[in-house]
């Protein structure tokens, strides 16, 4: 069954709810660390509530039901009628999984199926105050049934909750809750007219009176402030109303909180609220400043509407492309300008140069996203792993605010998940073992990101068992990937790199988490696709560290331009180690391969012309050329090879143009680019090139 909702509204919902769900998974894991944080509880409650609201509007009933029940659990929690237990967390987390699953279904424009009734029942069970449960989750009949019937009523009313329905829902729950819950009941009821139209002053006054009557003293005085502001503007938006309700819910925190919130509300139309917004975004960690938390969500909500615009990524790509074009034209003009004696022209070209550079960097910035987007999922992963593997570990994240290209953020997600799982599974030992070795019972996984020049360094470190280079060598020999002699010659560093070879695993038995020996190979491939490099460091008994280095952006790449016959090629500069001139006519031959010896290292030597020039007649290299050959030493992982090229042009930053669909996937080519003189240069993909033309890595 497909959804017949308005596409615009649906898209808005998907984006907004998607962000909330991401945040929720972080907050839930935080909650386990600080189970009694009222602000966190409120934030989670609100998160579920907002998703429910959106889903209700789109009539996605299963989603509404699941969120509603989760919301009830947190309502009970934040009233201190129940404590956070691991079992409760498991249920809530699986509820979040269910919601995420439904969300994905909605994303593909289909109506999700009903949630697992057992899950809903469990949620309903936890929604009751402790000690007043009407039974244990499995055989708890009455309460869950009544909740069910209430939900049916909700369905009937197309997501709008009427008083009567809420009454019945309240009856289903404990009577003691009623007074408190009634406030809740008022919320949707009053919000309903607000969505359709504006709320009248009278209605609002009445509502305030009602809430004040139930609330305590301190809430009254500051609350009158927003009231006056409402009178002035004569209408109240839904957002403001939500904010107000949040305020009243949070009345326990005293007047200070309320006041801070009343301020942004006093002049809702006058200012775009840039200040509270930036503050809210900057300190998005909920636990950071408890008193400020209540004020944050509403302020942020307004700010999103006021100061930011959602832009389709394809449009950003388009702009990026055009800027790339501009850069090329500039390169061309700079070249022309340097030949001309006209001072005016030189000036104009110089100006253009500066402006283009600025434009390029600002467009680049629009595509930047904090790595937090990827990091955000790790607390949950570590939590789940430590529960399922009975290990004790904590995750420390450093530099979450480091920005990098959006495409990179997405592309890095999978490799990072894999590496973190590896650290947790292979690295961290069982608590008993750790104690025996004189370590803290709790293992530590550190995930850090930092910018270094035009690169990003990502480090995944653990204080676990570390890797034994001898074991790695033995495994590689057993698997037939290396012969004994070669294995013996490997340095420890080289031995660690064996983990990236396909099929190698140090685990005797593969688990569902890791150990099949394919993952690291995939990680390495993925990282090198991103023009990145991987380094492993490990010390037996102390832990391991994997360092990933990736460029800040994928759109522009520094390259070394070279010539083969009269065609230009670009080698990604990340791979280039050094360049020198050498008489290669006396190169040694080992096993049929030509090699050169540089500073006591033996490097295989390849003639790029033999591979990349189409006309066979032009492929051969004369003796004279060999006498003064240009050799470019490139590195792939820990391996180095030498490429003989005809001529070196120099270093140039290029914009990568994809080859058309027809040529996509041509071995050894990463794309093409247009050089300063308007000609085309092919960008080489060095690992692919070696793989294809030598049949090995």
């Amino acid at each position: 069954m497909s959804l017949d909702a308005d596409q615009d509204i649906l898209q808005d919902f998907l984006v907004e709810a998607g962000e909330i769900l991401e945040l929720l998974s972080e907050q839930l894991v935080d909650l386990e660390q600080s189970p009694n944080d009222p602000d966190l509880l409120n934030a989670i409650f609100r998160g579920f509530h907002t998703v429910k609201g959106g889903a209700g509007f789109l009539q996605i009933t299963p989603l509404v039901e699941c969120c509603h029940n989760a919301e009830n659990v947190f309502d009970t929690l934040r009233k201190n009628q129940r404590q956070v237990t691991p079992e409760l967390m498991d249920t809530v987390l699986s509820a979040l999984d269910a919601v995420n699953e439904m969300f994905e279904t909605v994303r593909s424009d289909e109506m999700p199926g009903d949630a697992d009734p057992a899950l809903i029942e469990a949620l309903a069970y936890y929604a009751q105050p402790e000690g007043e449960e009407t039974g244990s989750p499995p055989n708890e009949e009455s309460a869950s049934q009544e909740v069910g019937s209430a939900n049916e009523a909700v369905e009937a009313a197309d997501g709008d909750i009427t008083d009567a329905e809420f009454e019945s829902l309240l009856n289903a729950l404990s009577p003691e809750d009623r007074a408190a819950m009634e406030k809740e009941a008022q919320a949707p009821q009053a919000a309903e007219p607000a969505t359709s139209d504006e709320i009248t002053e009278d209605e609002f006054d009445a509502l305030l009176d009602e809430l004040h009557g139930k609330g305590k003293g301190p809430g009254v005085a500051p609350a009158s402030k927003p009231e006056t502001s409402t009178a002035a503007s004569d209408e109240i938006t839904e957002d403001e109303f939500d904010a107000l309700l949040d305020q009243l819910h949070g009345k326990g925190k005293g007047p200070g909180v309320v006041k801070s919130e009343a301020k942004p509300q006093a002049k809702p139309e006058a200012k775009p609220e840039a200040k509270p917004a930036s503050k809210a975004v900057a300190t998005s960690k909920p636990a950071a400043a408890p008193p400020a938390v209540a004020a944050k969500p509403p302020a942020r909500k307004e700010a999103v509407a006021d100061t930011t615009v959602r832009v389709d990524t394809s449009r950003l790509d388009e702009i990026m492309n055009m800027v790339g074009e501009l850069v090329l034209v500039r390169n061309r003009l700079v070249r022309l300008g340097s030949d001309s004696a006209d001072a005016e022209l030189a000036k104009a070209v110089g100006n253009l140069d500066v402006v283009t550079a600025d434009l390029q960097s600002s467009v680049m910035k629009t595509r930047m996203q904090p790595i937090k987007k990827v990091f955000g999922r790790f607390p949950r992963i570590i939590r789940d792993l430590s529960r399922s593997m009975k290990k004790e570990m904590v995750l420390e994240m450093i530099g979450e605010d480091t920005d990098l290209d959006k495409n990179l953020v997405e592309a890095l997600a999978d490799p990072l998940v894999h590496l973190v799982r590896n650290s947790a599974d292979h690295g961290i030992e069982m608590p008993d073992v750790r104690e025996k070795n004189g370590k803290d019972r709790v293992g530590k996984v550190i995930l850090s990101a930092e910018q270094e020049g035009d690169h990003i360094l990502l480090t995944i470190a653990d204080d676990g068992a570390g890797m034994d280079p001898e074991v790695l060598k033995r495994k590689a020999v057993e698997k037939g990937q290396l012969d004994q002699d070669a294995a013996d010659r490997l340095t420890d560093q080289e031995a660690f790199n064996l983990i990236f070879a396909a099929g190698l695993t140090t685990k005797e038995v593969a688990s569902d988490v890791s150990g099949r020996g394919v993952g690291m190979d995939v990680v390495k491939t993925k990282i090198s696709q991103l023009n990145g490099t991987l380094n492993v460091w490990s010390e037996l008994g102390k832990g391991s560290k994997i360092i990933i280095k990736v460029p800040l952006t994928l759109a522009i790449m520094p390259t070394l331009m070279i010539k083969l016959q009269d065609q230009t090629f670009a080698l990604p500069l990340v791979n280039v180690n050094e360049i020198f001139q050498l008489d290669v006519s006396r190169a040694n031959k080992i096993d049929g391969h030509e090699v050169i010896i540089i500073r006591d290292r033996t490097l295989p030597l390849f003639y790029l012309r033999r591979w990349l020039v189409r006309d066979p007649a032009k492929r051969e290299i004369s003796k004279e050329e060999m006498k003064e050959a240009h050799v470019v030493v490139v590195a792939i992982g820990n391996q180095q090879v030498g490429f003989v090229v005809d001529d070196l042009i120099g270093q140039e930053e290029v914009v990568i143009k994809p080859l058309g669909t027809m040529l996509h996937g041509t071995p050894g080519l990463a794309g093409a680019t247009i050089t300063g003189d308007g000609r085309i240069a092919l960008i080489l993909d060095i690992p692919g090139l070696l793989n294809h033309y030598t049949g090995r890595r």
Partner: protein, 162 residues
């Protein structure tokens, strides 16, 4: 104009189509004008190592990289020298833009749907499969090319499998 009278009954629904004609070896071919983006003079084509042999290489079309197909090779014709009249037609077929190199580009002709006949089943298989139909106009045979096939069916299925 005598031939259209034969189809008078159908003429109400008879669509008029426009075709761009080009020459390859001694034959004249036509491509639906809606698929042709532009016609370029021959410019330097950068060869692409490792590409299929019917791909001549890539060109820079105002900042975009466009693949150029060797139409002669594709049609099973012998290669020829680039001359002053050699053109690259930029065509758009099935959402991809490619260039096809031809000996020369002639004109745009108007053809009625009814004038197009199915191709007689002659000639070698290599070229026959790209032919959509033929049209006899002014005593000259015009061969209408099926562009999607030019980019090879196998290629498409390969692409779909990725």
């Amino acid at each position: 104009m005598s031939s259209p009278q034969k189809f008078q009954a159908e003429s109400a629904t008879d669509l008029v189509l426009q075709y761009v004609t080009f020459r390859l070896a001694e034959e004249t071919y036509g491509i639906n004008v809606m698929m042709v983006q532009e016609v370029l003079r021959y410019s330097e084509i950068a060869p692409v190592p490792g590409a299929p042999d019917y791909v001549l290489g890539i060109i820079n079309l105002r900042g975009n990289v466009v693949t150029v197909i060797d139409t002669r090779q594709r049609f099973g014709l012998p290669a020829s020298e680039v001359t002053d009249s050699t053109r690259i037609m930029i065509i758009e077929a099935d959402q991809q833009v490619v260039g096809i190199m031809v000996d020369s580009v002639a004109e745009v002709v108007y053809l009625k749907q009814s004038e197009i006949e199915t191709a007689p089943n002659v000639g070698n298989d290599e070229s026959a499969k790209f032919i959509q139909g033929v049209c006899n106009k002014n005593n000259e045979l015009l061969i209408l090319v099926e562009l999607d096939k030019l980019m090879s069916e196998e290629e498409w299925s390969e692409l779909a499998a990725i």
